[in-house]
């Protein structure tokens, strides 16, 4: 995993040339005009850098403006203010088809009147690549996305996952300077999505493609990206590599978006402070996995356990989830692997349980540096 150009995604930083070149968005504002004439600000003064060869995920809830930002970078939406540049060159005057950026849609948008091979070849035809070279590239890309031999197939005969893989191959074919992916896996079912996320990552890395990947799915963002940019309300909240984002969320809002449930000031709960040595002024974020049942061998000492009342018990894909109201912290989800024989030793609603903090699974908000 390559490191990003800046340690922190500080969107107020002054424009600076990127060491490796690449995409630079500075103070971008995009207004979205609705059919009834009302104007909304979809992107609100946002700055972001993507250096060459890097994969950045734009993660945010739906309606956060991430797709609009992507379309603005592609040149499909006009900027009301700010600048989009590549290698320091402003792209304002460059029309969509001359930017050399690729865009992959949520629903593929394959050309139904062309077969799979002709779809993948489209961008190469636009670039006047000679025919023999074209077919070699097409065959290579189809192989890369696991669809070798599909060139002659009609688009209508493909499954949803196959269509998205063709769309990916089509986007990669003209070797775009930057590939923009707009929720490319969202329309697929969960199992397929998880499998394809890995495939997308390896295809991007294998081709050395610089990419900006929009998604509202955390797992997808963490699986695909070198850095994750968390976006909400048209602004960036934090830009960091996945591990740092997960363990050191910049604000409580980011932590909540990532799934952390309860927040306490450092120093307020001794059992947590014993596990995480965070400085004064920081906030500890507790989420699923941060606490485990202490009455199992090898977990915690008597002096640093927490006590809580079990509110609900649920079962999901091999784990038991307990929602526990923890003294001094609040409601936290505790995840325990489910064990056979069924139901043995697990608490039920109304039980008081003892919990131990898992040092590595508690995030620190406001960590200096």
């Amino acid at each position: 995993m390559t490191a990003g150009p800046g340690a922190r995604g500080d969107q107020t930083a002054a424009p600076r040339p990127l060491p490796g070149g690449g995409l630079s968005v500075r103070g971008a504002v995009v207004h979205y005009r609705d059919d009834d004439g009302s104007v909304a600000t979809a992107v609100d003064g946002l700055s972001l850098d993507v250096s060459r060869g890097e994969v950045v995920a734009l993660l945010g809830p739906s309606g956060s403006g991430k797709s609009t930002l992507l379309r603005a970078v592609a040149g499909l939406e006009p900027l009301s203010a700010g600048e989009v540049s590549w290698d320091g060159q402003d792209l304002a005057a460059v029309p969509v088809h001359r930017r050399g950026f690729g865009l992959m849609f949520q629903d593929g948008q394959l050309f139904a009147h062309r077969d799979v091979g002709a779809n993948v070849a489209f961008g190469l035809e636009m670039a006047h690549v000679p025919r023999p070279e074209r077919s070699t590239t097409v065959a290579g890309l189809l192989e890369l996305v696991g669809l070798a031999g599909f060139a002659g197939r009609a688009v209508a005969t493909l499954s949803g996952g196959e269509r998205q893989r063709v769309a990916l191959a089509r986007s990669l074919a003209p070797r775009p300077r930057l590939l923009l992916l707009d929720e490319p896996l969202s329309a697929l079912d969960r199992a397929l999505r998880e499998r394809l996320a890995g495939q997308v990552r390896s295809a991007l890395v294998a081709t050395g493609t610089t990419a900006l990947f929009v998604t509202h799915d955390h797992d997808e963002a963490f699986a695909v990206a070198d850095r994750i940019a968390v976006m909400d309300g048209g602004r960036l909240l934090q830009v960091d590599p996945p591990a740092r984002l997960w363990h050191r969320p910049a604000t409580r809002q980011v932590a909540e978006f990532l799934g952390y449930e309860a927040f306490t000031a450092a120093g307020a709960v001794p059992a947590l402070d014993a596990a995480v040595h965070a400085g004064p002024g920081t906030v500890l974020a507790v989420g699923p996995g941060s606490l485990v049942l202490a009455d199992l061998p090898g977990r915690g000492h008597d002096d640093d356990v927490l006590r809580g009342l079990v509110r609900s018990v649920g079962f999901r894909r091999g784990v038991v989830e307990l929602v526990v109201d923890v003294e001094g912290i609040g409601e936290v989800t505790v995840v325990e692997p489910s064990r056979a024989p069924v139901g043995i030793d697990l608490p039920v609603v109304g039980d008081v349980v003892r919990l131990a903090a898992q040092p590595g699974a508690i995030a620190v908000i406001g960590w200096p540096g």
Binding site: R71, V96, F101, L103, F111, M126
Partner: protein, 554 residues
């Protein structure tokens, strides 16, 4: 820039060949000797004849539309929601009347209703009922296609939900399905009302002496009484009626397009027709009976009768009527042989088709765009509406307007009236809206993100058009070509005014023949009608093969 040119060319065409003639015509009604003068209106409206004619026109539109809708809705259900052997053949048969030239329809109904016809005992020859029957024949397809096409895409689960909640089949239909169909029915009804109110060829051939509508009255006032003022006043009346209906039609169409976003059309499977057995549905029996009677009495009988009568000569059965088409008729003065008229018709229709497809294609292209700016979006909407006008504004008005306006257009010292280019242009004005309505829905259904996908892959706007829009629209363009050709071939309203006496088209010759006494002339008229119907059918059959599934509004 390129879009500007694409918009300006059709606008200039429409301006010179539609707005100018119609505006000149309206001015004729309001202005006399350079001053505003409404005495023409007072005088025309002072005649009892005028009110009788307006009454007939409205009654014809209301009764014709009501009967067509009542008969057409069961047909829409049968042909678009159920499956049975021979369904496709029946769909093709039902499509025939709409493209048949009005003159042919008129002649066909005469062979049924006049003395010696199968339904002569009804005494409907030359009456209101006879004209309405022919109008229902002509417009039945419109209702079946418009309502049926909509019905076919209607999610059946709403009706199933109502049934599961305890509604009887009939109640579920009336309370759930019918309201959902309302926009389509309203849209079809407004189009049918328009066609009924502006019918010309059918009324002229089928209406008896003294029978007249606003449309035929314009023709009578111009050609028989030479009262251009009265004709102009009547054209204004006709225009008011038509614009009113068009505005209503436009409203329902907008609502329909909003209600039914064309997405990946979920194919609703047709149910097998259930007339017998435990699973029989009484609704199916009603639909099958109504449609069966309509098809046999209203469609098969007139067309069959037309063919049979064409073989019936004063000397027994034979091809004499057809052989006579090479000659000039028993009393001469036809302006050449029927065969020569057929050749003229084909030539004029070819020219008209080229003009209509170029102009209509450009309009469809421009109107299918969704510009970002609101002003431009609104302008596109206006352009769409403006090009629908010729569909409603009667062809007679267009033809008459040409005569009035183009003797010295825009003050130029030119008399275009005798020019041979005038006829194809007038026919193109009539055919252009059909081209637009055929191509536009297909272009509109192209997802704008498909354009985006091509653009980010490096396609310039021009290449997006040729590589994305064109392959998708090409098939509908083929259909538009056929429709335009068929319409031009059978066009009678404008042609009646503009065809040169020495070079008539086929419909003009048929009307001349049918207006003459003698069994021989009638026989020739019938044979010529069969010939015209055949030419049209061949063109449409070729074009129908190009129809993309579910495309086109008409």
């Amino acid at each position: 820039m390129a879009w500007g040119v694409a918009a300006v060319v059709p606008l200039v065409f429409l301006g010179v060949f539609f707005v100018l003639p119609v505006a000149t015509l309206i001015a004729r009604g309001f202005v006399a000797d350079g001053a505003l003068d409404l005495s023409g209106f007072a005088e025309v409206f002072g005649r009892r004849r005028t009110w009788r004619i307006i009454g007939t026109t409205l009654a014809q539109a209301v009764v014709g539309t009501t009967v067509t809708v009542l008969l057409g809705v069961p047909g829409a259900y049968l042909l678009h929601r159920t499956e049975f052997r021979g369904r496709r053949a029946l769909v093709a048969l039902v499509a025939v009347p709409f493209v048949l030239p009005t003159v042919v329809v008129g002649v066909a109904f005469r062979t049924v209703l006049a003395d010696g016809g199968a339904l002569a005992f009804l005494g409907w020859d030359g009456t209101f009922a006879g004209v309405v029957a022919a109008l229902v024949f002509f417009n039945y397809t419109v209702v079946v296609r418009t309502v049926g096409g909509f019905w076919a895409q209607l999610d059946p689960r709403a009706e199933q939900a109502a049934r599961a909640l305890g509604a009887s089949p009939w109640r579920a239909f009336v309370q759930v399905t019918l309201p959902a169909l309302a926009p389509a029915i309203a849209s079809a009804a407004s189009i049918v009302a328009l066609f009924c109110a502006t019918a010309f060829g059918v009324v002229l051939v089928l209406g008896g002496p003294g029978y007249g509508t606003v449309e035929t009255e314009i023709w009578v006032q111009t050609t028989q009484y030479l009262d251009l003022r009265a004709a102009a006043v009547l054209s204004v009346v006709q225009l008011v009626v038509v614009v009113g209906v068009l505005v209503a039609a436009g409203r329902t169409r907008v609502r329909r397009e909003r209600a039914l976003p064309m997405g990946p059309a979920e194919t609703v499977s047709r149910r097998r027709l259930a007339l017998r057995g435990p699973g029989r549905r009484s609704g199916d029996a009603v639909a099958a009976t109504v449609t069966g009677v309509v098809v046999l009495v209203l469609l098969v009988l007139p067309l069959g009768s037309l063919v049979v009568r064409s073989l019936h000569t004063p000397d027994g059965w034979g091809l004499a009527n057809y052989l006579a088409l090479g000659g000039a008729g028993s009393s001469g003065g036809l302006g050449g042989s029927v065969a020569a008229a057929a050749v003229t018709s084909l030539r004029v229709a070819l020219d008209a088709t080229v003009i209509a497809v170029v102009v209509g294609g450009l309009v469809a292209l421009v109107v299918s765009r969704r510009p970002r700016s609101r002003t431009l979006r609104r302008a596109v909407g206006v352009l769409d509406g403006v090009f629908m006008l010729p569909l409603g504004v009667s062809a007679v008005t267009v033809g008459f307007g040409f005569l009035v306006a183009l003797d010295a257009p825009l003050g130029l010292d030119l008399d275009l009236r005798g020019s041979p280019v005038l006829l194809p242009i007038a026919q193109a004005v009539v055919a252009t809206p059909l081209v637009v309505r055929t191509v536009l829905p297909v272009l509109r259904a192209v997802d704008s993100r498909l354009h985006d996908a091509a653009a980010v892959l490096g396609a310039s706007p021009g290449r997006v058009l040729t590589l994305v829009d064109w392959p998708i629209a090409a098939r509908s363009a083929g259909l538009a070509l056929g429709l335009a050709f068929a319409v031009s071939l059978g066009e009678f309203g404008a042609t009646a005014f503009l065809a040169r006496p020495d070079r008539p088209t086929l419909p003009v010759v048929i009307v001349r023949l049918i207006g003459r006494p003698g069994a021989e002339n009638l026989g020739m008229a019938i044979a010529a009608s069969v010939l015209l119907a055949l030419l049209t059918a061949v063109v449409m059959a070729a074009a129908e093969r190009l129809r993309p599934i579910g495309a086109g509004e008409l």
